[in-house]
Symmetry: C2
Subunit: 185 residues, 2 copies
């Protein structure tokens, strides 16, 4: 076994023990194979994807203890934070998921007694969904744990960096949301 960092035994992307994160190793490899390519976007998008994947694994610990997946928690959270009933369609938009997915989640959450449905008096197509007391209590119990967990995950970064990062991600998100659907190459 070598220590060149090109040995798979050194771990993903050959990042080895050299400084930098996994993505830096991947970018290094691509540049060696395709020296002409502008790998700039990878350093942002690759890292965002990787962070999201890691956070989703790590982050879900407090949620799992409550027997909730993240999409389920997002749905309950949407009801809690808006403070009023929402229709399935609104929930789909609010949680950025498909209508079909919301239907499935609602069935499960209803069976578990966390949400309730109510028919609309005027328009019989629409349903109104609200949290039960148990649902509200669950959200209120889980959210602080979840935030504490996330705070821990970010605690390695200096506070100033955290603020910068949040602001830059906000800028990026505005761009992406603005041109969502505009990019159709």
């Amino acid at each position: 076994m070598t220590a060149t960092g090109n040995d798979p035994a050194n771990g993903p992307a050959g990042a080895g023990a050299r400084g930098g994160d996994t993505v830096a190793g991947v970018v290094r490899q691509w540049r060696a194979v395709h020296p002409g390519l502008d790998t700039g976007p990878m350093e942002i998008i690759g890292r965002i994807n990787r962070c999201a994947a890691l956070l989703q694994q790590a982050e879900d610990a407090p949620l799992r203890r409550a027997g909730l997946s993240r999409p389920e928690f997002d749905l309950l959270g949407a009801l809690r934070r808006t403070g009023h009933e929402l229709t399935p369609g609104e929930l789909a938009r609010e949680t950025f998921s498909s209508g079909a997915a919301v239907t499935k989640r609602l069935r499960q959450l209803t069976e578990r007694g966390l949400v309730e449905r109510r028919a609309d008096s005027r328009d019989r197509r629409v349903a109104h969904v609200r949290l039960t007391d148990a649902g509200r209590d669950l959200v209120d119990a889980v959210l602080p744990e979840q935030l504490g967990y996330e705070t821990d995950a970010l605690s390695g970064l200096p506070a100033a960096h955290r603020d910068d990062l949040a602001a830059l991600l906000g800028d990026l998100l505005v761009q992406l949301e603005g041109r969502l659907g505009g990019l159709r190459h």
Copy 2:
């Protein structure tokens, strides 16, 4: 319909037309409901998740044209950038996916003639996977398109901000990868 931003018709999270991204609206709602909570982590983690989701939708356009999903492309890319054969286990580590998922993808990619398997001469448990010529050509054709697409997606951000963002995400990723498995709350 009101214009208060609290109306679901204004869109997800009631972000309405006021400045800021979707996550800012969500955070605003949570603070109104739970004034005591430190919502700082949401502004980073929520945005990372949202960016990742948006990018995955938008980003996959050039890939889909090539008939590849992102996980499939990641697998082919791992073979291309390392420049040598990899075993299924190495591919799983390299692409951060489960062994079972890699098995499934390899079956499909083999049927499509993009990768080939070779038995190990000494250890008959392991397989060695390599790109076929067609596989290599496909990766080399798709990667520049993909990077161009990503460049477009990021083009709304000033270059200096992009560099800052990449660096901060790198810092965060080092933290997260370092304590991966350490956080078991």
